[in-house]
Symmetry: C5
Subunit: 308 residues, 5 copies
């Protein structure tokens, strides 16, 4: 969460071929787990060596594992599902931002004033809203993609705002108010535009909720503590039967458990570029920009046609 | 995903008879898995032969399998549910397109202007919206079904648009605007039409979200990697007990695991005609077309009655 | 799905007594499974006889069953939940039809025109909508319950319509339009009535979605194929230990598996009178009719009071 | 469901202490299960006695139990979740009634006519709606709590209505209509009041849906039949190993299974005072009444202030 | 629930490092469980001592545990999920309060009257609503954070109100009414403001629903009773095999079971500062306050600009 020293690609498409998917390295959590896993494997190794060359370890009946195992299953399923639900909800909220931006632009440009300056401004700021959300959710202020849309003074104002997306929403509200007061848009369109603008703020609020409210910490602690206890006890029930092989078995059990825990952790932060499979906010924002500018041009052309 | 060389029938109805369903070939994932399965079965065969004729293989205690097995279960349940939820959400969104198209046409033709040209145009473009969505989601531009509705020039314009459904939505918005400015529809109806048109764009946005955001790649990789590890180790715990029979057992275990993985993969792409059980978008679009044209005629008739 | 030769009672209330519920025959899937189960039990019987009197069968280690068993569990849970969700969603949609019909009638009769003819007509057609939905979803055209409300000519027109509920919705829209044009209802009430009428169409659209889109066929095939493989292999792991008893055990395992599969299949078609536990659409429609007519009378009485 | 001879307290708060909760008697299903459990325990007892003193019983291999056990698990999870979902949905719908009542009163008293009679009447009938819902859902007509609000004649009219909540909704609609026709409330407020009144009917409709549509009977039968088969066969796999102890083991297995079945049954009827953990509708209604009357007074006071 | 003698930090962020998370003490339920766990461990200890030094205890076959274990799993999964769902729903409702407060302020300050007093008052009371909700849900009346916004008389009035948030909502409604009657805001804005104010009350109603309706008591009792029976019987199946080790195994089984039960209990009360991982309402309210005051200032500045 602190430094973004390694660049992580956003969520990509799955390969159709089974083996290709199974052996993928980039985008998988394995590289992040590897050092820990190797370190952890020393634990059963040392125990196995003690058992073989020094003194036999007490043998732990397998019974308690079954019960802890079931509880572990419950906790991991829960964490997996909750993590994915948060991730997918975040994606839906960004889908809402895409839809609302499109609806605002389609309505504002189709039914709005003929004034070319107003049309350009509403397009600029509606596009800027998505970028402001992205940067705000990533605790960053990099607006290079907006340099062709906004003046550097506008970008500075935006960066200086206490809450950037809220600032942009205020700009949009002002433009609507202007057009409405000049009777350039009628009440129905104004209402609809307001509804969509409000929806933009609702979506952003949802994203902030996901960003600021991690899963209940009691669960997260519990999940990890159960995994830890489970792995600490595991060698005692393995060594008698499996000897040095128990290091391998330990790794084969630890790998999926720690992977699922890690995936649950990564998916909790769907906005951060440090997270694996983070949402492709960059691409989403640029789609909004491209669609918006294309519509601005096409509407401009068609308006000119109509007037001729 | 690349070439559509094999034609796949969309989602069909289930047969009532148990055996008929159990033995169905067409529409099942088995043909797609068969080559891989046969290839994979060489692996335990070779191991079993080595074990019997050359040197006995190390025997792997069954314990780690139980744990990996449980994690595998978690991951497969998750993938199955998430895949189905995406598929069903996509179907609901298309249900929304059907409903909104019907509502637009019923309102536009019942309360809209008497102008026969306008009525024909609004029917054309509302029907065209569904087709444009279908083609856009399938990354194709085949509008043969619209040839009796639109002129070839209109179809060319549509095909040339940067974003086809957005282009059609613009056309519909223009028609509404026209009728409203001429006071052919009152504000209430205009508002309702606008609400439905906005809803069309929301549904399309939802479909694009599903199309462009596959399941988190971390999960997909993990699911396949666990299956792979599981299957690679399986023979070592089978051969001692089962000998050459372990090839059969291997197949019986690999078949359902790979099937569920494949089904999860197929359901992720509910729009592509390459996917098994893809949504019957063709049929849905044609239903919208048939209903719309029938309503257009019946309203035309009833309007003529009223005027007489 | 083809012939309705056996009359099936709709979903009934559960008995409070445990044994009464456990031994219920009517409304259970058992009668539908019995012939198949008896036939299927020949399979382990023949194998057991071969094993005893002719030649011992190969004994199958229990291991693969556990894995296939887990996958079977995943698939059955999935099918059970998905089936119930569809059924309950269908019930909710019909709840929506009840609510919208009530809201339309309460608003139309409380705030609508004093015109007794109009009031009677709106009541007739609103009630008719529910019946038209029921018949349309059941692919039938039996409107005997409407004979006291509509003239036989109106019923014929209804039966001749390409899409019956859509036809009725058109009638309702016309009545609203009439009242609005004559200034008998104000804009607010017109808007609310329109919203509810639109909601009727949305609910119907949802029901049609459930009717026309069965669960993904890939799943249905897979669930049945896994059950089949499972049952085909089962005797090989039983006969050595259990001898002829394995026929009984086979039945005890096959009965719940096939029951759950059958229940999943039945719940997929919540509208068909052939399905067990189908929705009581008949009762729902008649409730709408009774409530609607009672309100019509009470409003008529209260209006007369007011005018006096 | 027939006689309410035992008074059941509604859903209470859980105790913080573990043992206190674990040993709670009141509000638990155990008293309802005890007679049946004791009776059922005769079954393994008789079998064990036969086995010991007369003739050894056939011993049933444990294998089929595992499969039936898994299916039982699926069915019980399903029933548990579905029961809770219905219960919680019912609670949400009543939460909706609380919210809508509050919103109606706040809007009607803040923005409505100054007429004190009208204000009193709208408060009376809005409060009466919740009580009418409660009594209607409990198939009762006891309006003692309303005696200080309504005249005995009004209560009689209410009791005589075909559908009590619908009758009250009609009264409320009439009051809104009155105020609107006299221009005492403007269109915006009228619209909002109508929206909330419609929502009241939607919530009631949802409650009636839950009341009238029990879980699919096929499931309920199946769940109980599987439990019965399971328990009937259980002693045959226990007696050889456990002898007379198997009566205890039988009870320890039967108790949770029958408890979960019973809980599923009880939660299906969240409105009935005969059900354990039924919703505290009495308390909810009285909260609506207290809040409503307090607001009526405070608004009356503040209006007097303003006028002075 | 009674005394808040120990200060509990609200839900915090999860640590990225696995071990850090696994060994966290603060924010975990373990400190609350420790005394009980130590006490409970006397039970197997005494039994083991009796078994060793006095008389061998009867040995309990492991079979019944498997079944009770499965039911326990069902009940724990259910409790875990239901607890988290309530917690997350509560968080969503507070997200709704944040969004609605922002929307009210943005609309009221952008489109509302120029009157600086009105603008200040609407900001004060909108911010006060969130604080009133927080205090009301925590059954407290501490409004120290509002001292810079409201006069001490206003705070006293607020504390004296029968239902504090309802009182504030009445204040807000009055301000809207004032502005609307003076034609300072047009109908569209008034409608939108009303919609958002109504939504505030809906969110509060949802929170009160969660606060006042704990999970069905039948479940809570059952979950704890099953855990109790399970733990009481556990030593009888352990002691023969494990001797004094069974105390350790007992603890390892009891710890996760009691933890999950406790977590389910804690998450049921997401508002109480006594609960672990309670919602950070304090922080949420202060965010609303900071954003609101910042907007008030920036709008004031921009309005002054415009007028100049």
């Amino acid at each position: 969460m602190k430094k973004a020293d390694t660049y992580v690609t956003p969520n990509q498409e799955e390969a159709g071929k089974f083996l290709h998917g199974a052996l993928m390295w980039r985008g998988s959590v394995t590289p992040r787990l590897l050092p820990g896993l190797l370190l952890a494997s020393c634990y059963p190794l040392i125990l196995a060596l003690i058992d073989r060359y020094w003194t036999p370890l007490p043998y732990l009946n397998v019974t308690p594992f079954e019960y802890i195992g079931a509880v572990l299953g419950v906790v991991l399923v829960f964490r997996t599902n909750a993590g994915y639900d948060r991730w997918w909800e975040a994606r839906k909220l960004w889908g809402g931002i895409v839809n609302a931006s499109r609806n605002i632009l389609l309505a504002a440009l189709s039914y709005g004033p003929d004034n070319a300056v107003w049309r350009r401004e509403i397009t600029q700021w509606t596009i800027a809203f998505a970028f402001a959300c992205k940067e705000s959710l990533r605790q960053s202020q990099n607006f290079d993609e907006l340099k062709d849309l906004l003046t550097s003074q506008q970008i500075q104002e935006l960066q200086a705002a206490q809450h950037m997306p809220y600032f942009v929403a205020g700009k949009i509200a002002k433009l609507f108010d202007q057009a409405y007061r000049r009777h350039d848009i009628n009440e129905t369109v104004f209402k609809e535009l307001e509804r969509q603008r409000t929806y933009l703020i609702d979506c952003l609020g949802g994203c902030e909720r996901i960003l600021k409210t991690p899963m209940p910490l009691v669960y997260a602690i519990k999940a990890r503590r159960f995994i830890l206890i489970f792995l600490l006890l595991l060698p005692f029930s393995l060594i008698e039967k499996a000897g040095l092989n128990s290091v391998l078995i330990f790794l084969l059990v630890a790998y999926p458990l720690l992977s699922l825990d890690r995936i649950g952790f990564e998916l909790q932060y769907p906005f951060s570029t440090n997270s694996l499979s983070h949402l492709p906010l960059h691409g989403i924002c640029n789609t909004i920009k491209a669609n918006g500018l294309a519509l601005l041009e096409s509407v401009a052309a068609s308006r000119t046609d109509n007037e001729n």
